[in-house]
């Protein structure tokens, strides 16, 4: 099973199994709950290391693909795959989750069981997003991940936690609705939700998009991802969410969730709508640069340490977006690197801030 067969499914659903197990436990044995969460997340990390073997260096295209028919009409299928970009991001996720568990060891004393269930479910959603090759499945995980994160902020957060959680959810929902429209439009045009198939259809010219249509579709996806990144001027949910979230939430939010936006841009915007990306690149770059400088300047004067790191995230993710939309081989590699580096370093920063 572990050499390729269903590794990706295992990666997605193993934390879910762990979460399920936790749910069945009685809630008062905190030590045991923490231990289970730790074991599950560490095991998940070890599993994910197998990806390193499954994705050979220098390989192109998706590896370890899994395909299972799910819903016949509309044809929504369970299609997973991993490539160089998503592999590293999955590794980042599985690496940060045990750390988040550890960071919550002492600080979470209230509703401990539910907290770790949420944390593990968050991992399910995020890993699912990174590994899905079916658009509908992607969207499903995209929304799935929203729920535990909102609860993490809303239940275990600080004073204004409900405000921050609601803001986070609404902001993201506004984007994902547009993305859903884009997904459905593509389905209507191609008759499938399968990402590689759609990509092929577009690349071979079986489906030619009007420039206007392409731009609208591009924007529908881009808007959703830009909110998640967050790209200036859609960033104001981030400082609130960070300030209110518990440490583990901040770590996961900054370390992984923000990367979903840039990952989406790389996975959907560029390959599906190359022309529109090309035309929009200039404006996106302008926004990214504004975000870089603006985020840095605003973080300079923050009296709140968490906000400072949050705004610096705005700045750094601006670099990633700029790298992606410089539309250059080197710059996209740089963007992936920056995503990883930012994930690790900002995760660490939030841990430190959380300790202080």
């Amino acid at each position: 099973m572990l050499h390729g067969g269903h590794l990706l499914s295992v990666l997605i659903f193993f934390p879910a199994v762990g979460a399920l197990a936790l749910m069945m436990l009685r809630g008062d044995d905190h030590k045991f709950i923490r231990a289970i969460a730790m074991v599950v997340s560490v095991a998940e990390f070890l599993f994910s290391l197998l990806l390193l073997r499954g994705v050979p260096i220098g390989s192109s295209g998706y590896q370890l693909e899994e395909f299972a028919k799910w819903i016949p009409a509309p044809p929504i299928h369970y299609h997973l795959g991993v490539d160089g970009i998503s592999m590293f991001l999955v590794l980042l996720t599985t690496f940060l989750t045990p750390i988040s568990v550890l960071a919550s060891w002492k600080s979470i004393q209230h509703r401990v069981k539910e907290f770790f269930v949420m944390l593990l479910m968050l991992e399910v959603g995020v890993v699912g997003v990174f590994l899905s090759l079916d658009m509908f499945l992607f969207f499903l995980f995209w929304e799935l991940m929203l729920i535990p994160m909102a609860f993490l902020i809303g239940i275990w957060g600080h004073e204004r936690r409900v405000y921050a959680a609601v803001k986070f959810v609404l902001y993201t929902m506004a984007g994902s609705i547009l993305m859903l429209v884009g997904i459905i439009w593509l389905y209507n045009a191609t008759g499938t939700f399968d990402l590689p198939t759609i990509q092929q259809t577009l690349a071979t010219g079986q489906l030619i998009l009007e420039p206007r249509t392409e731009m609208l579709l591009f924007l529908s996806f881009f808007f959703a991802f830009a909110i998640k990144v967050p790209l200036f001027p859609l960033h104001t949910w981030l400082p609130d969410a960070h300030v209110e979230a518990p440490t583990a939430g901040s770590v996961m939010l900054a370390g992984v969730l923000l990367k979903l936006g840039t990952y989406g841009m790389m996975r959907f915007c560029l390959p599906l709508f190359p022309e529109a990306s090309h035309r929009a690149a200039r404006w996106v770059a302008v926004l990214a640069i504004i975000g870089i400088i603006y985020g840095a300047l605003v973080s300079l004067v923050q009296p709140n340490l968490k906000k400072l790191v949050a705004y610096s995230s705005v700045s750094h993710l601006g670099f990633v977006v700029l790298g992606i939309f410089a539309l250059h081989n080197i710059s996209i590699q740089g963007a992936v690197y920056q995503m990883l580096a930012h994930g690790i370093s900002t995760g660490a920063l939030f841990l430190l801030v959380g300790m202080l």
């Binding site: 001027p233 603006y294 300047l297 300079l300 250059h328």
Partner: protein, 659 residues
């Protein structure tokens, strides 16, 4: 086993201090100082020996540029940066200075830091610094050089802020780091531009391409000029030149061995090294060269004037370092890279002595740094006095001490510069006068005259041998370090210039025999002038501070505006604090509070509140009251009927929409 084992394993040289740093940093906290000392000294000592052996092998192989590509570090598209080390004549000089002086200062630090807390931490940082500095000088491409460049900045920050509980030390560390980052910003842009123009950042390929570079259409403001100026911006940050010099005097908050090693002998010369290393780029751009020369010369003079009135012994030395670094850039700017590197080397020797001796004085005085509270120490700490006196003669430019030869070479080269030779020479000479003056002022105030401290309270004692040993060795070096150039005064060859000629190209040999004789005569004259100027400076200092000790105060009173301006360092810090810090602070606060909170977030929340308000309004229609629903049904029916009745086409349209 390859024929030249250490050249082939050149990476051992930087690796050793890194190991030392890791061992001390990770396991040193709980160990007694003995172990920490042993680790630190052994790692740097071994590194020094390895460097010596590598240099020997380099000479044995006939002094040809050696490079070793260990592994590829970054590849992206056509961009490649590797962990490539190289060794040529310039590297030899830097390598020996860094490892040799570095090792001696490590030994010194054993004694100096013996009673300090965080002993392991100190040596861990110091070794880390050695590692990065060695990477910097051994790197064979700009990217790896930049790793060392940033790394030394980091270690410098850590060491300046070593006593981080003291607010001034922590602030000084931050200041050094931030000002350096401003320079680094330029350095990075310079690298990007070079990559864009030449497609590589590897020294060998880049310089080969640059050698045949045609000046582009933009002429004076072409690619190379801009790239050079950007690189120089980084160099000015690291080497504390105008206008980015402000961090170096504050950096004296760090322990004195740090000031000696990082802020005098090695790290601050990295900028000079980079300019010398990129000399092919710079010589292609006369504009950039002129800027380097002017900035160097101006800094030399500017810092020397501030040095005249400082009363903190380390501050005097700090401004003197800034000033001497200015000399080095002046040399590079007029194309005399050899002279610049020569001065870099001799400066490393005598400035290390000066700082270490100052440290010894501070140690003897129990932490006192104000010269106004010293005096008459010469008899009590004789060895410190002797070594410091030698180094002072060297920096003042008295033959046959090292500083004379290197400074003379610089002045000679700037005199011959065609563009602005006379001005550069004049200012340079004036700076030499000031240098001799303020250095002897320091000596007289510290070691001569009457004690101005409470002799009962301060127990003045000579430092231990671990501190005096390195002082002695370095003092000897600051005597003989300049003798490479001695034969030039007897029409002989300049060994140092000839040694570096393969790197910088042997230009001076081109002149004919007749002009050579004339040049030689000029050199003798200029040497004499420089010597005379230095003597004059010493005499003035002697007259002011020993003969008529009340005179300086009178002078200060009679020239009060000038004096206070100098004492306050031309108010540059205040100017920066207002122009940069204050304005930035205000404008970013506007950004945050007006643009972010009110503008963007206000819009977002406004939308949310708007939605809520609409929802609230509509809510009233869903009252759950059957009668009100009945009213709505009737009203709706009336509207539909009215539309159909008065607007015949609409019915069809609605029907079509529904279907």
């Amino acid at each position: 086993m390859p024929e030249q084992p250490l050249l082939h394993y050149l990476w051992i040289v930087p690796l050793l201090p890194l190991l030392g740093s890791a061992i001390n940093g990770l396991f040193g906290a709980k160990r007694p100082n003995k172990y920490v000392t042993a680790t630190a000294i052994t790692s740097t000592g071994l590194s020094f020996l390895c460097a010596l052996e590598a240099v020997r092998e380099f000479f044995e192989s006939g002094q040809v540029l050696f490079r070793k590509d260990s592994f590829t570090w970054i590849t992206a598209g056509n961009f490649r940066a590797g962990f490539d080390l190289q060794m040529d004549q310039l590297t030899v000089v830097m390598l020996l200075v860094v490892t040799g002086v570095g090792w001696l200062i490590h030994i010194y630090a054993i004694g100096y830091m013996a009673h300090e807390g965080g002993y392991y931490r100190f040596f861990s940082y110091l070794n880390l610094f050695m590692f990065f500095m060695l990477i910097l000088v051994l790197a064979a491409n700009y990217v790896l050089l930049f790793v060392g460049w940033e790394g030394v900045g980091l270690s410098s920050y850590l060491l300046i802020g070593f006593w981080f509980l003291k607010k001034s030390a922590a602030d000084a560390g931050k200041k050094a780091f931030i000002v350096n980052r401003i320079g680094d910003f330029g350095f990075m842009l310079g690298m990007f531009l070079l990559f864009r123009a030449f497609g590589t950042l590897d020294f060998q390929t880049l310089f080969a391409k640059a050698g045949t570079w045609q000046p582009d259409a933009m002429g004076q403001f072409g690619t190379l000029t801009i790239a050079c100026l950007l690189l120089f911006m980084g160099a000015a940050g690291k080497s504390a030149q105008l206008p980015l010099y402000v961090w170096l005097p504050d950096a004296m908050e760090g322990p004195t061995p740090v000031s000696a090693l990082i802020h005098a002998a090695t790290m601050v010369t990295a900028g000079v090294y980079v300019v010398a290393r990129s000399h092919i780029l710079f010589t292609h751009s006369p504009t950039a060269m002129l800027v380097v020369a002017i900035v160097g010369c101006a800094t030399a003079f500017f810092a020397a004037t501030i040095g005249l009135v400082q009363t903190d012994i380390k501050k005097v030395l700090a401004y003197s370092t800034v000033s001497q670094l200015g000399y080095m850039f002046l040399a590079c700017g007029v194309g005399a890279f050899t002279a610049g590197i020569f001065h870099l080397m001799t400066h490393a020797f005598f400035k290390a002595v000066l700082f270490l001796a100052a440290g010894s004085v501070i140690h003897a005085m129990g932490g006192e740094q104000e010269m106004s509270k010293m005096g008459g120490l010469g008899k009590k700490i004789r060895w410190t006095y002797v070594t410091m006196f030698i180094a002072t003669l060297a920096i003042a430019g008295i033959p046959p001490f090292a500083g004379f030869f290197s400074k003379d070479a610089i002045l000679f080269a700037s005199f011959q510069n065609e563009t602005a030779g006379r001005i550069l020479y004049g200012l340079g000479l004036l700076t030499a006068l000031l240098t001799a003056f303020y250095m002897f002022r320091l000596i007289f105030l510290t070691f001569n005259g009457k004690p101005r401290y409470d002799e009962k309270k301060v127990h003045v004692h000579e430092s231990p041998w671990s501190m005096l040993g390195p002082l002695g060795v370095l003092a000897i070096l600051s005597v003989i370090g300049g003798w490479f150039a001695l034969p030039t005064f007897f029409q002989g060859p300049d060994y140092f210039a000839n040694f570096l000629a393969p790197v910088f190209g042997g230009a001076p040999e081109a002149a004919g025999a007749a002009t050579e004789a004339a040049t030689h005569q000029l050199e003798l004259i200029l040497g004499g002038v420089a010597f005379g100027t230095a003597l004059l400076g010493i005499v003035i200092a002697y007259w002011l501070y020993l003969k008529t000790p009340r005179k300086p105060d009178d002078l200060a009173k009679s020239m009060k505006p000038a004096y206070t301006t100098l004492l306050n360092k031309y108010y540059v810090d205040e100017l920066y604090a207002f122009l940069v810090v204050r304005l930035l602070w205000l404008s970013t606060n506007v950004f945050w509070k007006a643009a972010d909170v009110v503008g963007i977030d206000g819009t977002v929340n406004g939308i949310a509140h708007g939605a809520a308000a609409i929802g609230d309004g509509v809510r009233h229609s869903q009252s759950g009251n059957t009668r009100s629903y009945g009213v709505w049904v009737v009203a709706g029916a009336i509207v539909v009927l009215a539309v159909i009745f008065f607007w015949p086409g609409a019915g069809k349209a609605v029907w079509g929409l529904v279907r």
